[in-house]
Amino acid sequence: MDLQQVLIITNNPIVKNINNAEICFVRGDQRQVLYQVLNKVAGGHTLLSHPLAGSIKTEDNPYRSVVLSTSITEANLSTLNMLEYCLGKVESGVRDGMQSRQHDQLAQDFQMIDKELLDNALQSLIRRQV
């Protein structure tokens, strides 16, 4: 696949102008990104990267970029299931009142890590037929 077939949902300000990829910028926290992903998956887009980051607590991490296909097929129930479960995880963190840290000084580092994970996903996808 090439980047034209890729839709990136992100709230990370340093994710922009990735060649031909379609970027949907979400103003909001990681939850909002995931809800947007959920909308798209329910609308038939294929989820390509896992909605959660690895080993960075969702309630701490302000930035998240998730990769989907631009093409639309039937909504995938098992993906919806997974998203629901991931959202459960994120929401439980919110309920716990754990979103308590200041992110100002960390913002750049979180942005950089998120971008790095995104680049890894794109590199892995780019040579692939979907």
Partner: protein
């Protein structure tokens, strides 16, 4: 040490008032222990007298949940207790619900430790085990002899502020709280042990039972439809003609709340769909095809249901139903709770 004042909650049967015929009796209290309370008091020892017993009929309690709870709390409070014990309810469903509700309310309002006992499959156990300690009992009053010491033991520990051990040690139903402990063996050794048992087909206990899915346990059925107030909610985007709230056709950021008192039928002239995800022709022609107001009114007239709630709620589920659910179902739910509806019909396209 001063005595620990214990209050005991019982239903009409264990309170020695009578059987099902007395199940609608309103709450009242008596000094001292009654029925199973006598054995409980004995098991707890001299420094934990049961100073009073509060009794309420199961039917009355369950049919008047809010008022009954308040009445019971007031009676409990009048004894100035340090601890409340309810039941045990064994497998009696309504009694279990009452014991759970009383315990939860007393714990929250009076801020004293509470404990009850019931059979694992009692619906009250499922409902309240997360909030209160429920000692695991057998399924009928025949098991009173084993239930009493278990209940007394945990009650004593709770009253004295002792550290409560694991469900297995203390005999209560697991509450779903994950706590760190130090095991005898390190994790890898435990894993090897568990694997060998699993391969041999021997029983083993997982340290983390997988939640299959974050389900909500089914709520009890409506007993009498002819008295029930039913609310309609739809994710099919049915709105008054002109879409006064400007509900978006997809990714809706809000929900609508519309009064249908006096409306017997949704017509092409009065209602339409704001949904952008399906062919709107059919719903625009007759919105009852998504939100069955006409049928509900007929059933209301026929007395098959008590009342159709005057307000219905509409959202747009265009690929967004799952998403928006988390955001606004809560808000709709809070409103419907205030209105004391008895059941909800949710229609989706």
């Amino acid at each position: 040490m001063a005595n620990i004042r214990v209050v005991h909650y019982l239903n009409q049967f264990f309170g020695q008032i009578g059987g099902e015929d007395k199940a609608d009796i309103t709450p009242f209290s008596k000094d001292g222990p009654i029925g199973p309370g006598t054995a409980l008091e004995k098991a707890m020892g001299d420094d934990m007298p049961i100073v009073g017993t509060v009794i309420c009929g199961d039917t009355y309690f369950n049919e008047n949940l809010d008022t009954a709870t308040e009445e019971v709390i007031a009676l409990v409070a009048s004894f100035k207790p340090d601890l409340l014990i309810a039941g045990p309810a064994f497998n009696a469903g309504r009694y279990g619900m009452a014991c759970g509700a009383v315990c939860a309310a007393v714990q929250e309002k009076l801020k004293i430790p509470v404990v009850t006992g019931m059979y694992e499959e009692n619906p009250g156990a499922d409902m309240y085990k997360k909030n209160v300690y429920i000692v695991k009992t057998g399924n009928s009053a025949a098991q009173m002899r084993t239930a009493v010491p278990a209940l007394a033991r945990l009650a004593t520990r709770l009253a004295k502020g002792e550290v409560i051990g694991s469900p297995a040690e203390e005999g209560y139903l697991a509450r779903g709280i994950r706590k760190n402990v130090f095991h005898e063996q390190r994790g890898s050794a435990r894993a090897v042990e568990m694997l060998l048992k699993k391969i041999k087909g021997e029983p083993f206990t997982t340290e983390y039972p997988m939640p299959v899915f974050d389900r909500v346990s089914p709520r009890p059925a409506i007993k009498d439809l002819s008295k029930a107030k039913i609310a309609l909610v739809t994710s099919g985007g049915i709105v008054p003609k002109g879409n006064p709230d400007r509900i978006e056709s997809s990714s809706a950021s809000k929900f609508g709340r519309y009064d249908i008192s006096g409306i017997n039928d949704l017509t092409e002239e009065t209602f339409e769909t704001a949904h952008g995800g399906y062919d709107p022709v059919y719903a625009n022609k007759d919105a009852d095809r998504v939100l069955p107001v006409d049928v509900m009114r007929k059933l209301e007239r026929e007395g098959k249901i008590g009342k159709l709630h005057d307000v219905y709620y509409a959202t747009v589920g265009n690929g967004t139903s799952v998403a928006n659910a988390k955001k606004y179902a809560n808000a709709i739910g809070q409103e419907l709770k205030q209105e004391n509806v008895d059941g909800i019909i949710l229609t989706s396209t």
